[in-house]
Amino acid sequence: MKNARRLTAVNDAAAKAGLHPFQTVADALALEPDLITEDADPDADLAALEALGDWCVRFSPAVAVQAPDGLMLDIEGGEGLWGGEQAMLDDLVTRFRGAGIPACAAIADTVGAAWALARFGKGRRVVPSGAQRAWLEPLPIESLRLSENDAETLVTLGVSSVGGLLKLPRAELARRFGPGVRLRLDQALGDAEEALTYRRAPPPFFERLAFFEPISAPDDLLRVATDITAAMSRRLAGALSGARRFELGFHRVDGRVESVGVGTAIAGRDAKRIAKLFAPKLETVDPGFGVEAVTLAASQVERIADAQGRLADGVHENACSFESGGEDGVEALVDRLANRLGEAEVWRPAARETWIPERAVERAAPLAASDKAWPADRPRPVRLFHRPEPIEAIAETPDNPPVSFRWRGRTHRVRKAEGPERLAQEWWRAQDYGPDKVRDYYRVEDAEGRRFWIFRAGLYASDATPRWWLHGLFA
């Protein structure tokens, strides 16, 4: 029966007709000739389950996806927000049903007990703390997540319920079945540890606000953004920390999550400042039929000094020596500009150790301290073209600076010149390296005092006319 096609899932109508998963398609068709089958797509199922897991973040940030059909939420300490565990469970199941997803759920002390009760407990069960033993006893042996072989052997032995298994002597159990059965039993009862792989590491700085009535007005969105940032700010202050990245998630009534994020140049927790960064981005949030919860996660958390407020003329701890703290300081300016224009559009030019002019400058973070500098004895232009522009030059001898050259339709007569400064490509960039990649740079001044940075490409060879380029302009 190995290669038979089997059902993996059935809908309500099929279930009523007596079909069930793991049945072969041939048997099913015999029972129900009108059966419509679709090929199973486990990848899509998993993706859908993961999406559902992401949605569950509204209940707890710690969500573990258990393929093929389970989600495990660590709700420790979060039930108060719903007014108790039962209310939370009801809310969760009602929402799933509302979205057309049949779901069973249970809350228990242990992963094993919750797993068992959700699947075999019939109904929404909240197991009181420490009572899982009594609740598990009547359940069938399959509820313990045993391997197929072990379960079958136990059933043949006449042990069909968890209660029956509990009556067996523990030592005997280990001898007959190996450690598997005993471990599963202990995990369900809470005598053994069990680790879950959460879909994302629970961010320690996470805030959530839920509303009685869904909100959608832009003003309201701004207000809740401000409120939740203030809550986060207090939390960060308590930990003497600040964060550099904030993700605001608007959980809509229809289950979608609209999220916006902002980043700051230096870790901070100033609620006003962060809320201000969010404000212009809220326009892009589509509240749909309303937003019923909002979450804020802070990441890249660092420890920062205590008062981040206004330091009159003092020196800020993180920044160099400029006044930077507060709403109107340089840091806030960088954040505003970077969030408005894009993070790549605000930078500090920093020196890079190379002689190639176009590579000698790199973009550093705007407030990053830099200790490297360009060599002072090499004159460099104030404007450097991204691509050197070809010029027609007349030189007395090929390795002299030109007497005159033509650039952008205008002839410049060279009055003074300095050079050459020979720059060769770096040898480790093999494809760029070679005698024709050598540049001889000259600094020339024309009759009117304009200064240019021009170079001749390649070493002088008598058979070829040298090519000249203009690379930059001096002040």
Binding site: P349, R383, L473
Partner: protein, 276 residues
């Protein structure tokens, strides 16, 4: 303003001017940057380039598109602003749209990259918004903007931003790459505290030394609020706190010679100087 004011009428005028100056945020500005020569400083009512307001730098015709000469002049001004005790340790924010600004060249002119922050925008409106934001931020000594034109509203807003923290603005007029070259930059009504028209000037080394000397500008102060205009050949100076050294006074204020008549005259190159 000059010593020649003897008549009662002139005296009255002077008194009125002083009274008016007390209301003008530019004229009553006490923080001044000396430009290195009494003749230049004297053109500004109160002496020296006033800080806490913005100045306009316009390049000569050929420089309008590349804006190298104006950028060098602005870098020198910012450099001496940062090194002098006039503005406490602060940042220079440079707002531009084309990223051909080359920081090593600026640091040669005294504007170190450690104090420089570059902001690239996509439109004139964004440039002005960024400039306004930068000028009103604490810890920003000066902001340099490369813009095509400055309207009255923008100018007024920039002035208000400057007054908030005493930051100084330098606006370089720069024609956008690819726009028609014969479209002259229209000079709008006076809103800047001063307007400079800058052209390059041939440099000079000490006699007998080869090569290029420090950069020189044929700088014409077209307008200074409450002051008078003037024209000089100025050379970058790195000795003291002053950014420039005045080499000569321009006799006529004709700094930028008409370009068409230039170029093909008897400009046979003198002996080419070169360092081996």
């Amino acid at each position: 303003m000059s010593t020649a004011l003897q008549t009662p009428r002139a005296h009255e005028l002077k008194r009125l001017r002083e009274r008016l100056a007390a209301y003008d945020p530019v004229l009553r500005q006490t923080r001044r940057l000396s430009l290195g020569d009494g003749r230049v400083d004297g053109c500004f009512l109160g002496g020296g380039l006033p800080l806490g307001c913005w100045h306009e730098l316009v390049g000569a015709e050929t420089d309008l598109e590349s804006a190298a000469v104006t950028a060098g002049f602005a870098a020198r001004l910012c450099g001496s602003l940062l090194s002098g005790g006039l503005s406490r340790a602060g940042q220079v924010v440079w707002v531009l749209r084309r990223t051909d600004l080359y920081a090593p060249g600026l640091s040669e002119l005294g504007l170190p990259s450690a104090r420089l922050m570059i902001v690239r925008t996509r439109s004139e409106a964004e440039s002005f918004a960024a400039l306004e934001d930068a000028l009103s931020a604490r810890g920003v000594s000066a902001a340099v903007g490369e813009v095509e034109r400055i309207g009255l509203t923008e100018g007024r807003r920039l002035q208000l931003a400057c007054e908030r923290r005493g930051a100084t603005g330098f606006l370089l007029r720069r024609r956008l790459f690819g726009s028609t070259p014969n479209r002259a930059v229209r000079v709008e009504p006076a809103i800047a505290a001063s307007r400079w028209r800058l052209a390059p000037a041939p440099s000079e080394m000490a006699i007998g030394e080869p090569g290029l000397g420090p950069p020189r500008w044929a700088a014409r102060l077209e307008r200074a609020r409450g002051g008078r205009s003037g024209g000089w050949i100025m050379e970058a100076s790195f000795d003291g706190a002053a950014p420039f050294r005045v080499v000569a006074e321009l006799a006529d204020h004709r700094v930028a010679a008409p370009d068409a008549s230039h170029g093909e005259r008897e400009d046979t190159p003198r002996a080419l100087q070169r360092i081996a």
